[in-house]
Amino acid sequence: MSSVRQRYPEHFQRFGRDRFVMAAIGFGLFALLIYAMGRLGFFDGTLLSGLGRLFEIVGLMLPPDPGSWAHVKIYSISLLETVAIALLGTLSAAVLALPVALLAARNVTAQRIVRFLSRRSLDTIRSVDILVWALIWINVVGLGPFAGALAIMTADIGSFGKLFSEAIEAADRKPVEGITSTGGSHILGIRFGILPEVFPVLMSQILYYFESNTRSASIIGIVGAGGIGLHLAEAIRTLELQQTSFIVLMILVAVAAIDFLSSKLRFAMIGRRGGVAV
C-alpha cells in the first residue's frame, strides 16, 4: 500500500491545488450570494411577512372562478386574440427572416461585409426585449393587438435570422455542387440545393417558436399590446384573485394544447428524430 502511495502521490493527495481553487471559487460565490440576498432585502423581515401574505393570496385564488359567463366570453375571445397574435407574429417573422438569414449565412453570401452587417443587425434586434418592441410599436400603430403582433414579429426576426442562418450553414454542400456542375446558377443552387434540405429544420423551429410566442403574447398585454395579458394585469391589480387564477389556468391550458399540437405536427413533418436545436 505504501509503495503504491509512493508511486502515485497525486492520487493520494488530500487537497490538490485544483481542489483548493475550486473551494475558493465556491466560497466567493457563496459570499456574493449572501451579500446579494442582504442587499435585496432577504434578511430584514420582508420575506417572512410577504410569505404570509402570499399564502393568504394563494388561498384567496382558490378555487379559480371567472365570476360570470360574460367574463368567460371576454376571456375566451382575448385568448383567441393572443393565439392570433402569436401566429401572425411567428409566421410573418419567419417569412421576413429567411432572406436576412440567407444574407447572413457563410455558404450563401460571399461578401464578408454584407454578412457582418446582417449579423450585427440581427444581434441588435435580438437583444432588445419583446416588451420594449411592444412599447415602441404602440407608439407607431396605437394600443391594441396589432402592435403586439408587430412586436413579436420584430423580436422573432432576430432569433429566426440567427437560427435559420445556422441551419443553412450546417447544410450539406454536395447538392449545391451537383446543381452548379450541371450549369445551374447560384440562385438555383440555393433554391434546389439548400432550401429543400433545411426546410424541415426551419419548420420545426417555427413550430417551437409558435409555442413560446403564445406565452410571450399572453404577457405583452400588460403593457397594452392586446391579448389576454390586459385582463390578467387588470384582474391582479384590482385584486380579483379568483379571476386571476382562472385566466392563468386558461393560459396554461392553451399553451399545453398548442404544445401538444405543434409537437404532433413536428413529428408528422420531420419524423421522430428531428430535434430542435435551441
Binding site: 460565490l29 456574493l32 450570494l33 446579494a36 440576498m37 442587499r39 435585496l40 432585502g41 432577504f42 420582508t46 420575506l47 410577504g50 410569505l51 401574505r53 402570499l54 393568504e56 393570496i57 383567441l80 386574440e81 392570433a84 397574435i85 401566429l87 401572425l88 409566421l91 441588435t124 437583444s127 432588445v128 426585449d129 416588451l131 420594449v132 412599447l135 415602441i136 410599436w137 407608439n139 407607431v140 400603430v141 396605437g142 391594441g144 393587438p145 396589432f146 403586439g148 403582433a149 408587430l150 406565452r215 410571450s216 399572453s218 404577457i219 400588460i222 403593457v223 392586446g226 390578467l232 394585469a233 391582479i236 391589480r237 385584486l239 386571476t244 393560459i251 396554461l252 399553451v255 399545453a256
Partner: protein
C-alpha cells in the same frame, strides 16, 4: 469521344413518365393545400388581431423616425456630441443595473439549488418513488409555464414593490426550467456506476452522490450558466411591473418620451448583456475543455 446514353423504348418510357408526373402533381397538390390552410389561418388571425395594413402604411414612417429620435438629445443635437448629457443619470442607472445583476444571480443560484435537489426526485431512472416523481414534474411544469411577469405581478402584491418580488419570480421560473433540464440530464447517465455503488448496500443519497453526481455535474453547471444569461435579460424587464431593477427607469423613459434616456438605458443593458454572455460562454468553454482533458 462520344457517349451513348441508353434510352428505354418509348412504350416502356411512357408509363414511367406518367407515374413520375402523377407523383409530382400529387405532392404539389399537397403543398398547395397546406399553404392554403396556412393562408386561411393567417387571414382569420389578422381579423382577430385587428391587423390593418392601411394603418400600418400610414404610420410606418413613425417607426424609423422613432428609432432615429432615440439618438437625439432634448436640444436637437445627436447624443454622441455630449456624452455627459446623454448619460446624465449614470450613477443611478449603474446602481439599478447592479441590482438587476444581483437579482439575476440570486434567482439563478437559489432556483438552480432547489432544482438540483428535486431533479433527482424527478428523473425516471433514479427517482425513489413514482408518486413523488409525478408530483415534482407537474409542479415544475406549472412553475415554468406561468409567465415570469405574471408571477412578478402576483409577488408585487404580497411583497410590495421592489426587487424582492422580481427575485422570487426569477427563482420560481428558473426552478421550473432547470428541474426539467436537470432531470433529462440525469435520465441520460450511464447506469453502471449507480448500480455499482448501490450493490455495496449504500443508501440512496450516497448512491446519487458517488454514482450519478460525477456524471452530471458539468452539464448542470453549463445549463446553470446559460440560465444566468437568460435571467439577466428577464431581470432587466422585471421593473416593467414594479419588481425592481433597471426596467423601472426604462419603462418610465419610454412612457414619458425621454428619448435620449431610452437609448442610454438600452445601450447600458445591451453592453451588460453582451459582457455577461461573453464571460459565461468563456466559462462554459473552459468547463467543456476541462472535461475533454480529464
Amino acid at each position: 469521344m462520344s457517349t451513348h446514353v441508353v434510352r428505354l423504348p418509348e412504350a416502356q418510357l411512357q408509363p414511367l413518365l406518367a407515374a413520375y408526373n402523377a407523383s409530382v402533381r400529387s405532392r404539389r397538390r399537397h403543398t398547395l393545400l397546406i399553404l392554403a390552410c396556412v393562408v386561411v389561418a393567417m387571414l382569420l388571425a389578422s381579423v382577430s388581431a385587428e391587423v390593418s395594413l392601411s394603418k400600418l402604411a400610414e404610420n410606418i414612417h413613425r417607426f424609423p423616425s422613432y428609432i432615429v429620435r432615440l439618438f437625439f438629445l432634448e436640444n436637437g443635437q445627436p447624443v454622441w456630441t455630449d456624452l455627459s448629457e446623454w448619460f446624465w443619470g449614470l450613477p443611478r442607472w449603474l446602481r439599478l443595473l447592479g441590482e438587476t445583476l444581483l437579482m439575476a444571480y440570486v434567482g439563478t443560484v437559489l432556483g438552480a439549488g432547489v432544482a438540483f435537489v428535486l431533479a433527482f426526485l424527478a428523473a425516471a431512472n433514479v427517482a425513489p418513488s413514482r408518486w413523488l416523481r409525478i408530483v415534482v414534474r407537474r409542479f415544475g411544469e406549472v412553475c415554468r409555464t406561468v409567465p415570469t411577469l405574471v408571477l412578478a405581478l402576483i409577488f408585487v402584491i404580497s411583497f410590495g414593490l421592489g426587487p424582492m418580488a422580481g427575485v422570487l419570480a426569477v427563482i420560481v421560473h428558473t426552478f421550473g426550467v432547470l428541474t426539467k433540464l436537470f432531470a433529462e440530464v440525469i435520465e441520460n447517465i450511464d447506469m453502471k456506476p449507480v448500480e455499482g455503488v448501490s450493490s455495496t448496500g449504500s443508501p440512496w443519497h450516497v448512491v446519487m452522490r458517488f454514482g450519478a453526481l460525477p456524471q452530471v455535474m458539468s452539464n448542470f453547471t453549463s445549463y446553470t450558466l446559460l440560465r444566468f444569461e437568460i435571467n439577466v435579460r428577464e431581470a432587466a424587464v422585471m421593473g416593467f411591473v414594479g419588481a425592481g431593477g433597471i426596467g423601472q427607469d426604462l419603462v418610465e423613459a419610454i412612457r414619458k418620451f425621454y428619448y435620449s434616456d431610452v437609448s442610454a438605458i438600452l445601450v447600458l443593458i445591451l453592453l451588460t448583456v453582451a459582457v455577461i454572455d461573453m464571460l459565461t460562454s468563456k466559462a462554459r468553454h473552459r468547463l467543456i475543455g476541462l472535461e475533454g482533458k480529464a
